[in-house]
Amino acid sequence: MPVIAGLLLLLIIIPHFLSPYYQELLIEVLVFGLYCLGFDIIFGFTGLLNFGMSVFFGLGGYLALWSIVHLGTGISLSLAVTVIVSAMFSIGYALLISRFKTHYFVAFTIVISMIFFYIAMALRPITGADEGLTFDVPNLDLGFTTLDFYDPVNKYYFIFLICLFVFFLIWKFFRTPCGRAIIAVRENEDRARMLGYNTTWLKVAAFTISGVVSSLGGALYVLHLGFDSAHSFFWIWTARAVWWTIIGGAGTLVGAFVGPGVLVFFEDMISSWNADLYLIIMGILMIVVIMLAPQGIVGTIQNVITKRGKQS
């Protein structure tokens, strides 16, 4: 408990000690963390390696952008639009995809994400294709006051609160009967079915929650940049979700934020020195983590703590 309280306090006061550059970087960590949280729900908790995460990242971003540009909504309403539309989209995606298993499942999700990328590239008038679209991010209307969303500190607190809220909801969810049942599907789907669970339905539920959370991450990223392009549908975003989550610790929830937290700053450090070196080091790091600590950073720390607890 004191650790969690201390960490929260640190996250609350930290923007005041950082330069605007690092404030922006910290915002990216939160946004990517939310996106990875969605991936962790489907990969770490449901056991499905969904290689179509970029679809949700891209879609979330464009939903927020379209809603602001074409419907003239504010920031909060654009996020509500993102949640509702991405939930409906995720249900359709899940119904289509849940009939596939193992390698076919993975291959099919990659194909879907590539299809979405090429569609986004082709729809230049509404997506801006690879040059993308820039838009004016409206002020954040909170009812009692309006805040300038271009101010990184305001932006940070708004996104931090959303992340905290979503994280709490998901953490709570995996303690409910439905959440536990989804974990049972990860452990042994056939057995879960023979216990009386409609596992298809549970997977659809997991996909929907995952899709909404990841889309929200994509939407916040676009609001943060004031820009979106068809590249947000590119598979590289799926790859990022995978390595950030695995290095952070899949199936731990916290790991989804720790992964980007470590790697975004790491990338920034290395890139300012030599940009090409980053990918080489990333590759080596990925191999080392998978071979030596497949539980990721958070999972490994948890294991050490449980072992200590057993010994004493």
Partner: protein, 254 residues
């Protein structure tokens, strides 16, 4: 006597192989029925057909008077038609307690909704503790299921099945791989559960004839996917045809 489980002329082919050939099987209320037969006789296939894992080629399955032929496996389980597995199939990385809770919570939270909170866990937990008592697994409740002994895992299989409120329990070689001592404990446990009215209707697939004759009131013998004999235990064991295909002097002929 009322029938709790009945199959009517069920047929299953795998390519050209007739795995189940017009089987008419009946389980009456308050009965433990042994289902025996040589390897490949179609016992496990029969379970998979009854529980809905495999689709029937023809025939029907009736459970408590209702035609369940078109129901999915999870729907059949929720109605109380529950099986255990020949190869131990618990959730190996979850705790013993969690294994049973996953089975037990369905009875309370119905078709699990993502909007339902944890309030139901209080009732579920009471039930899990009852089952832990019944199966004498209370001391192991916090252990990881994959790390407990083979005998305890077999008991856990039964405990999980009990969590699903079984009206009919289908046991698939529950004592396979157990030592003589563990087998004895297991048989006593099943008899206790039956006598205590926890599960009143049991089908038992088993190779160990001592276990079968010790528990079953009636025995049904399968050979090449067909029932060749069905009747009271003593009668079946002394039947000449059964002895020819399966038993030699009460021992398994393999």
């Amino acid at each position: 006597m009322t029938e709790v489980l009945r199959t009517e002329g069920i047929v299953k082919r795998f390519g050209g192989f007739l795995a189940t050939n017009h089987v008419n099987f009946t389980l009456n209320e308050g009965e433990i029925k042994g289902l025996i037969g040589p390897n490949g006789a179609g016992k496990t296939t029969f379970y998979n057909l009854v529980t809905g894992v495999y689709q029937l080629d023809s025939g029907s399955v009736f459970f408590l008077g209702e035609d369940i032929t078109s129901l999915r496996p999870d729907e059949r389980c929720r109605k109380g038609l529950v099986r255990t597995y020949q190869i131990t199939s618990v959730f190996p990385r979850l705790s013993v307690y969690e294994n049973i809770r996953l089975a037990a919570q369905i009875g309370f939270s119905g078709n699990v909704s993502p909007f339902r909170g944890t309030s139901v866990f209080k009732q579920v937990s009471e039930k899990v503790f009852q089952i832990l008592e019944l199966t004498e697994l209370t001391d192991l409740k916090d252990q990881v299921a994959g790390e407990i002994s083979q005998g305890d895992q077999r008991l856990l299989e039964v405990a999980i099945a009990l969590g699903s409120n079984p009206k009919v329990l289908l046991l698939d070689e529950p004592t396979a791989g157990l030592s003589a001592k563990e087998t004895g404990t297991f048989v006593d446990k099943i008899r206790q559960l039956f006598d205590g009215g926890i599960v009143r209707n049991i089908v038992l697939v088993e190779h160990d004839m001592e276990v079968v004759t010790g528990l079953a009131h009636t025995i049904c013998v399968l050979n090449y996917g067909e029932i060749i004999k069905d009747g009271p235990t003593e009668e079946v064991c002394s039947d000449a045809k059964v002895q020819e295909v399966y038993l030699v002097g009460g021992k398994v002929n393999t």
